[in-house]
């Protein structure tokens, strides 16, 4: 899966947790999940759990800690997919 394909999939994972659909459509590596997309910090856990189910991966505590913006989410997801 290319980074762009992963990004499009990630948008679907994030969609239920943000009301800012316009911002979501235009997200890039620098987009911050809490600050820019106004996602409740506890919902980051739901995004991680949904991503695990979607990509059939397991995200550990240290990796989850890194997932604060879109770029780092894509990095972690790609890394875990490659480890499968």
């Amino acid at each position: 899966m290319t980074r762009e394909e992963t990004l499009n999939e990630l948008k679907k994972v994030i969609a239920p947790y943000t009301v800012n659909k316009e911002m979501l459509a235009g997200i890039n590596d620098q987009t911050d999940l809490i600050r820019d997309l106004k996602i409740n910090s506890a919902n980051l856990v739901d995004i991680i759990i949904d991503a695990e189910a979607k990509y059939d991966i397991e995200i550990d505590y240290d990796s989850a800690d890194r997932m604060t913006n879109v770029g780092s989410c894509l990095d972690v997801i790609t890394e875990k997919i490659n480890q499968r």
């Binding site: 910090s41 506890a42 919902n43 980051l44 856990v45 991680i48 759990i49 800690d65 997932m67």
Partner: protein
């Protein structure tokens, strides 16, 4: 039986809404609370017509359904010292109310764990009255442990 858990609740006197824990394991908790007729909120909600506020119903469900279970799960996970203060943060609920609760009523809260990960506890919580009628239900989430992903 679960006095050690009750003692660790960070709430005191007028804002502690847990009387008894009747069942508790890693998948859920059941507990009850009897509304004190002299509680501070009845005087003004409503004048001459005391009814338990929805926020208090929500708080009772969160204290029993999330905080009691959260303290229990944390104690299983780590050897915490007794001096550590539990600092729970309520993060979301989609509660719906089905019946009023009047002063003096005993309510029972039943909580079923959906997951506990990265410090976030999510539970499906119901509240029942003594005639087994549903008072309220909803998905409740809270953070019961400081985690780095908040930064």
């Amino acid at each position: 039986m679960y006095n050690d858990i009750l003692d660790q609740l960070p709430y005191k006197s007028s804002f502690r809404f847990v009387d008894h824990i009747t069942a508790l394991d890693e998948d859920g908790v059941t507990g009850d609370y009897t509304l004190r007729p002299d509680s501070f909120f009845y005087e003004d909600h409503f004048v001459g017509n005391p009814v338990t506020p929805g926020v208090i119903i929500t708080e009772i469900m969160a204290q029993i359904g999330l905080v009691v279970l959260g303290i229990f799960l944390l104690s299983k996970e780590t050897e915490k010292s007794k001096e550590d203060t539990n600092f729970p943060l309520f993060t979301s609920t989609d509660i719906s109310f089905h019946k009023m609760v009047l002063p003096g009523e005993k309510v029972t809260v039943v909580s079923k764990k959906q997951y506990f990960r990265f410090g976030k506890l999510k539970c499906y919580v119901e509240m029942w009255d003594s005639s087994n009628d549903l008072i309220a239900k909803g998905m409740f989430s809270g953070i019961v442990k400081k985690v780095g992903i908040k930064k």
